[in-house]
């Protein structure tokens, strides 16, 4: 007579795992059925591989995602349809797998095949995870969705995890809890089935149907297994399903339930998983809040509290917090006293946390947060052996990771890359390529990762399990990271419809060193620039390109095509700007001004662009300070600047220009030294006789002229002198007219700035005349090199 034992477990419960392991050793089954996708039967032996270290997960994904490899193929909304079955060291299912694999017993997964689960659009997740429901939710629904939580509530606990810990996990050695669990579940389910008759609400139909299907499939697998002649069958499944598996349901009924299910071709593999994911992502209805704690409970059954608190003390000591052994002793005593006070058999994580706070941390919260993060969640990343089925892209990434010596880790780690070192440059390129493939393994630091100069990048690296899914999806684009990123960039270039997006794509290509894709991007860019009639778009595109040009230089990337595009863009902007600048309202003027400023800045930058950083530089010398520039480039750049300035000058003399723009242009041209009649212009702008004179326009003019903050006035003495001269030269009447406008502009400055301007203005009259006398003592020959360097840094022509 074959014997079947059904073990109802709590997913990811260390106590269940330990009890299960013991029960299996006693029962000695000749086949083990486990709740999970049956497609995984073929890869389950990998669990015995020493390279397989939990937490890992079974990943099911539509097989055709990876099969399509044609580059440039339209990725029709890459489906996020993947399902995971995570396992931690302390998961009962994992222990069952290990037990079976170690004793050479076959393992079968008996849940509904992933083929059906992925195909059914109504049910995207592998198995609807019973979310913790609202306390005021319907009772029936709550029992069904969280049966253990309901049992806990009946037992007077407000937290299911604590109840389970007390009743099962903390039992230690004792009689097997499984019969009792099965009994409780049977009663609960019977109770629940009786409910709708009493007028209660039923559970959501989709959920209930899926559950019926799953349980029918489990029963079918069980029947088949028995038919094959196995004598001792062990079934490991969620506690909730135990009564359903025991029930005598006619074969025909199950067949009806399972008939005509939609199906899809799926592939399964093992992927590394993380504790963080276990903590908030519900596997099949059982996310655990503190996987690190459970892992600890499972791996050190001997004096877990003492070991945990000792580990916490060591962690705090590593952070230079003084914690002695005496602290640990007292913390253990407090945790045990608290557990007794709360009538718990053994101190749980909560008691241990309280003890840690009161004794080890002396009431402080910050170190406690550290312990919670590093120990209670206990971030760790599992590994899978090399023989695991993988798409070529995953393998290539593994090889790349080994090559550039970057190991994936679940803990966020900051990397400071010095792009002048070949290894760091390779790393940066890899990370940028992955970002193009939507695998955001590295997050660039603030300021686009270039806060410390163009040759440095800061990255924060965190490996997340779903990256494996992204990689499998990205398999559409190619078999290597480089190839896939290249194909992706080309496809993006073809799709992208706005100039700004294209330029940022070009920038990303440069960063990722996708030299082959760049011409395609540039072609699209040139096409778009030629047809785009809105000069503002062109102006918005320029800064990123100029940045890319300069940045590319530092990285040693060829930027020839980029330069061509920039050249074309500048000409188009200069032609298109004057018509675009007339007849603007206030908002449009402000918008245009922003763009003018950006272009002006970019072109100045371009004119001072250095030669590519070919030669090795001193560690502390930024690449920009190299004094030699390529002559051809220099010429082109200064051509651009000339053209730009001419355009601006032409614009300035057009009638009907918005006050803001006119003021700003006057200022820009004054700064470049091209205007010698600024004082007259200023007087004219605010004089009564000016065409279209009205106070608002004059105000805008002044605002535009003085924009850039009050500090400019403090430091630019010439400018201040100019403004000062103009104001003091006003007649009494004009002054009264202008005063409100001035107030309006100066009122925007912060109080300290205004004070500084005032002090500076007072000094104008006194010390200024004596200054020129000092000049005679200067040793110009000695000052020249320093002046030249400063000018170089400031980007001014020497």
């Amino acid at each position: 007579m074959p014997r079947t034992e059904i073990y109802g477990v709590r997913h990811h419960g260390p106590g269940s795992a330990r009890s299960l392991r013991r029960a299996l050793e006693e029962f000695k089954p000749d086949v083990v059925l486990i709740e999970g996708p049956p497609e995984a039967d073929v890869i389950v032996e990998l669990a015995a591989d020493p390279g397989m270290v939990p937490p890992v997960a079974l990943l099911a994904y539509p097989a055709d995602t990876a099969a399509r490899t044609a580059p440039g193929g339209e990725p029709d909304a890459p489906g996020r349809r993947a399902a995971f079955w995570p396992f931690a060291e302390f998961s009962p299912e994992w222990q069952a797998i290990r037990h079976a694999v170690e004793t050479g017993v076959p393992v079968r997964f008996c849940d509904l095949p992933a083929a059906h689960q992925l195909a059914d659009p109504a049910e995207p997740a592998a198995a609807a995870a019973p979310e913790p429901t609202e306390p005021d939710g319907d009772e029936t629904e709550r029992i069904r969705l969280d049966p253990l939580g309901w049992l806990a509530q009946v037992a007077g606990y407000d937290d299911a995890e604590r109840w389970w810990e007390d009743v099962v996990e903390h039992r230690g050695e004792g009689p097997s809890p499984f019969p009792a669990i099965a009994e409780a579940m049977t009663t609960l389910r019977e109770d629940l089935e009786a409910r709708p008759l009493q007028g209660g609400h039923a559970v959501p139909e989709a959920y209930a149907r899926r559950e019926r299907q799953r349980e029918a499939y489990m029963r079918r697998t069980l029947r088949r297994t028995l038919k094959e002649g196995y004598e001792r069958v062990a079934v490991v499944c969620g506690a909730w399903h135990v009564p359903a598996l025991r029930a005598a349901v006619p074969v025909g009924q199950d067949d009806r339930t399972l008939r005509g299910l939609p199906k899809e071709k799926v592939a399964l593999t093992w992927v590394p998983w993380t504790h963080g994911r276990l903590a908030h992502w519900s596997g099949y209805g059982a996310g655990v809040r503190s996987p690190g704690w459970y892992h600890h409970l499972f791996t050190s059954p001997d004096r877990p509290i003492e070991r945990w608190l000792t580990a916490a003390a060591r962690l705090l000591r590593e952070e230079d917090l003084h914690v002695s052994s005496a602290h640990v002793i007292e913390a253990v005593r407090l945790a045990e006293a608290l557990a007794a006070l709360r009538d718990r058999p053994l101190a749980g994580l909560e008691e241990v946390t309280e003890a840690t706070r009161a004794v080890l941390c002396e009431g402080a919260e910050a170190p406690l947060a550290l312990i919670r993060h590093r120990m209670a969640v206990g971030e760790r990343l599992g590994t899978v052996p090399d023989s695991t089925p993988m798409v070529p892209l995953q393998r290539d990434l593994q090889a790349e990771q080994r090559r550039v010596r970057l190991k994936p880790s679940a803990l966020a780690k900051e990397h400071d890359l010095d792009l002048r070192k070949p290894l760091d440059l390779e790393r940066s390129r890899l990370l940028h390529r992955l970002r193009l493939l939507d695998v955001a393994w590295g997050e660039p630091g603030p300021g686009g990762g270039r806060s410390k100069g163009t040759f440095r990048e800061t990255w924060t690296l965190t490996w997340r399990p779903e990256f494996d899914v992204e990689l499998i999806e990205a398999g559409v684009w190619g078999t290597t990271v480089l190839g896939a990123a290249d194909a992706r960039a080309r496809a993006l270039a073809a799709e992208t419809a706005t100039l700004a997006d294209l330029t940022s794509l070009a920038e990303r290509c440069l960063l990722a060193d996708l030299g082959d894709a760049l011409p395609a991007v540039m072609r699209s860019l040139a096409d778009l620039a030629a047809t785009d009639v809105d000069v503002l778009h062109l102006m918005a595109a320029l800064p990123a390109l100029v940045r890319a040009l300069r940045y590319g230089d530092v990285r040693g990337t060829p930027t020839g095509p980029l330069r061509t595009v920039v050249d074309g863009l500048v000409v188009r902007i200069c032609v298109g700007l004057p018509p675009a600048a007339s007849g603007l309202d206030d908002d449009a003027a402000r918008d245009l001004l922003r763009h003018i400023d950006a272009v002006h800045e970019s072109l100045t930058l371009l004119a001072s662009a250095p030669a590519p950083a070919a030669a090795p530089l001193g560690r502390d010398a930024p690449a920009e300070s190299r004094p030699v520039a390529r002559p051809g480039q220099e010429e082109a750049a200064s051509d651009h600047v000339n053209r730009w300035q001419n355009t601006l000058a032409g614009l300035l003399d057009r009638p009907g220009l918005h006050g803001l723009v006119e003021g700003r242009l006057t200022r820009l041209l004054h700064d470049t030294g091209r205007l010698d009649d600024v004082a007259d212009r200023m007087a004219r702008a605010v004089s009564i006789g000016h065409v279209g004179h009205e106070p608002a326009r004059a105000a805008a003019w002044i605002e535009g002229f003085l924009s850039g903050g009050g500090l400019v006035l403090v430091h630019d003495e010439a400018l201040l002198r100019l403004v000062d001269g103009w104001i003091t030269g006003l007649s009494a009447d004009s002054f009264t007219d202008v005063l409100p406008l001035l107030r309006r502009t100066f009122g925007q400055y912060a109080a300290p700035e205004r004070r500084a301007i005032g002090e500076q203005a007072r000094r104008l009259g006194t010390t200024a005349p004596s200054r020129p006398a000092d000049d005679e003592d200067l040793d110009l020959a000695r000052a020249l090199p320093a002046t030249r360097t400063v000018a170089q840094i400031l980007g001014r022509p020497v």
Partner: protein, 377 residues
């Protein structure tokens, strides 16, 4: 009560004049009936030297209903876990350090803990800059010392010494205000649980049940920072400010009622609305943000603790009962609030005026309050 040691003085609370006439009865006097009720129903094991089991002590602090329907009023309104940690600490004969900003019921909790654990909350050392070692160890009756030489009769024990002899809970208030050298005398007492008296060649060994509850102020850090040696002999519980307005209103209303009774104020119904208003003003100014989270405010220099809110309302009640129409009105609390907020006449007055004009004035239903505050400020 444990048998008094040979040196027990007679001016203890129990022998004090009739309880009806004292201004403020001790916790064990005021809640004697609750303590007796708890002891009657307490069938859980009691640590030696304790008058109640740890479970009963927790119930005493947090309130609850006994099996026979007897009601225990909550003494502390706040997270349950804090009180559990405090009681568990005392049950493991560790010393307890209650930390918190002023007005977070540190002293209140320590008094009630002592009353519940050993039935006596009077073994108290008040920490000040002038607290001398004698207050922690022992002093001498100099007349006898001169007449008889060192003898046990000439010894004047400190509250701590008495607590050790009798296995009671000693309380140390404002631990950080004591000079460091005096603080350090606690180290031996807490770790060795013994107090040597070298003059007599004797020592006092603490009996079971002895422990110390100390309170210290977070904001006073740096006055006399605790040495790490002393610090690690305490388990620390940080008492937070009330988490929500409702919780704080609850605390204020409860305490005001109790105070009103013990001060024999004429009965005036403490309007919950008025209390809520006081608490709202305090919370908004304390956090620098209006209750709806929309407007940023400046915070005054004072702490604006719950304790101060209680005193403002009590004060207002007295005003209402004696000089007003017997109902707590905005005018009765306005003076108290202004006094509590404006501690520094220069800067706090600006803060208060800004608050009054930008926040209070805009609230339609607060018009009476606005007018009353305008009058007094």
């Amino acid at each position: 009560m444990a048998e008094a040691g040979g040196l027990r003085s007679s001016d203890r609370a129990g022998a004090a004049p009739s309880e009806d006439t004292v201004l403020r009865p001790h916790a064990e006097q005021q809640f004697a009936d609750e303590l007796a009720l708890l002891a009657e129903h307490d069938d859980r094991p009691r640590p030696s030297g304790w008058r109640l089991s740890p479970w009963a002590v927790t119930t005493y602090l947090l309130g609850g209903t006994l099996p026979d329907g007897g009601v225990i009023t909550p003494k502390y309104v706040g997270p349950r876990r804090l009180m559990e940690v405090a009681v568990a600490t005392l049950a493991t004969d560790r010393a307890l350090l209650l930390l918190g900003v002023p007005g977070t019921a540190k002293t209140w909790v320590s008094e009630h803990l002592a009353a519940a654990v050993c039935g006596d909350s009077t073994l108290l050392v008040q920490g000040t800059a002038g607290t001398a070692e004698e207050a922690v160890r022992y002093g001498w009756n100099y007349a006898r010392l001169l007449a008889e030489g060192p003898s046990e009769q000439a010894l004047v024990p400190s509250p701590l010494m008495r607590a050790m002899r009798e296995g009671m809970v000693a309380r140390v208030e404002e631990l950080t205000r004591m000079p460091s050298d005096v603080q350090d005398t606690l180290i031996t007492i807490l770790s060795e649980k013994t107090l040597p008296v070298p003059e007599l060649g004797a020592e006092v060994q603490a009996r079971r049940g002895f422990t110390v509850i100390a309170t210290a102020n977070d904001r006073d850090r740096g006055v006399n920072e605790l040495s790490s040696a002393l610090r690690r002999r305490f388990n620390t519980v940080v008492l937070p400010l009330p988490a929500s307005t409702d919780e704080e209103v609850d605390i204020v209303a409860r305490r005001v009622e109790q105070l009103g009774r013990s001060l024999e104020l004429p009965q005036a119904p403490a309007g919950l609305e008025e209390i809520r208003r006081v608490v709202t003003v305090f919370r908004e100014l304390r956090s620098g943000l209006t209750a709806d989270g929309r407007t940023k405010l400046k915070s005054p220099s004072g702490t604006l603790s719950t304790a101060e809110a209680i005193s403002v309302v009590t004060n207002g009640l007295a005003l209402a009962a004696h000089f007003g129409d017997g109902v707590l009105r905005a005018a009765d609390v306005a003076g108290g609030i202004v006094g509590a907020v404006v501690q520094d006449p220069a800067s706090d007055r600006v803060v208060w005026q800004e608050y009054l004009e930008t926040v209070v004035r805009e609230r339609g239903e607060w018009r009476d309050f606005y007018r009353a505050c305008r009058e007094v400020s």
